[in-house]
């Protein structure tokens, strides 16, 4: 049995990070939220919050991210949403959506 955890970030003022909100909405529309075992919050104002601790443990600096833990195997971390839904949930994504996510997430302006 594989356990899937989503970590999303909440700013100090209580609002969700933009991408976290967008990803959660996409997953809700696609009925993918039910496939998660747990959603954990990384509170910006609380470094001891469970989400911030998981980010530190897995050396992740982006939100949201997904922790996929197959039984008796090491956890696998996904920081790229389209890769997570393609590889773990076997969902289809369009190239346009994938490129958009990459452009928003990764600083490639040096190219």
């Amino acid at each position: 049995m594989t356990k899937i955890t989503m970590v999303k970030k909440i700013f100090a003022d209580g609002s969700p990070c933009k991408k976290c909100g967008e990803v959660e909405e996409k997953m809700r529309e696609a009925g993918q939220l039910e496939q998660l075992d747990k959603i954990v919050i990384a509170y910006e104002a609380d470094p001891q919050s469970e989400g911030m601790q998981l980010a530190a443990k897995h050396n992740v600096d982006r939100a949201p991210f997904f922790i996929v833990e197959p039984e008796s195997q090491d956890a696998k971390i996904y920081t790229v949403y389209f890769k997570f839904v393609k590889e773990v949930l076997n969902a289809k994504t369009s190239e346009d959506e994938e490129l958009k996510e990459i452009m928003n997430d990764v600083d490639l302006d040096f190219l």
């Binding site: 933009k18 897995h58 050396n59 992740v60 393609k86 590889e87 490129l99 600083d107 302006d109 040096f110």
Partner: protein
Amino acid sequence: MGNITNIVDIDSELALQTPQEILRYALENHNNIAISFSGAEDVVLIDMAYKIRKDLQVFSLDTGRLHTETYRFIEQVRKHYNINIDVVYPEASRVEKLVKEKGLFSFYDGDHKECCGIRKIAPLRKQLLTVDAWITGQRRDQSPGTRAAVPVMQDDKAFARPDEKLTKFNPLANWTSKQVWDYIRENNVPYNELHDKGFISIGCEPCTRPTGPGQHEREGRWWWEEATLKECGLHAVNIQKQTL
């Protein structure tokens, strides 16, 4: 976890070393590794790497909108080092669709990301699917806001093949523009003639302009857009300091 810890540990060690030492590590530990060459001052990577290993894999993204000077420079570098430079192109049908629907200068009306996605990022992704590691000329001083924490070595999750690793090296991460230019002059490295015309950062012709005294180099790129904040960072470095 083992792999993550390993990359972080090696990055911490490499971060204290020179770009040449970082490049040597990258080239000696990866056979299928390519240098991404933008046609600007990242030419120093080619010069440094060529002194380590002659069979370099180098690629450049030809968006179709580069300056004539940049095309001339890519050719000059190819001949100077006698190396192959794999010039990579966007998919013609996607460019045609964009231009048909939004014209040739759509980036001035919206943001540059749609055009960059088609002309640069899609071909880059295709190219990176063929390698195990890549080398870029990213430096922290190029954009203090978004690149302040560029590591010298990182696990590139965005472009990795499914269930495989892609390692990205940024050997110049800790160097300043001055150090790069000192190297170019001391080693007689060829450079893009646009630099003599006031260009610091060089990209596509419609999206790049010379900068004046006191202006940061990023002010020469996409100047019509407001700087956007990256708001999803979790500042893991700070977290580590507080928890370990």
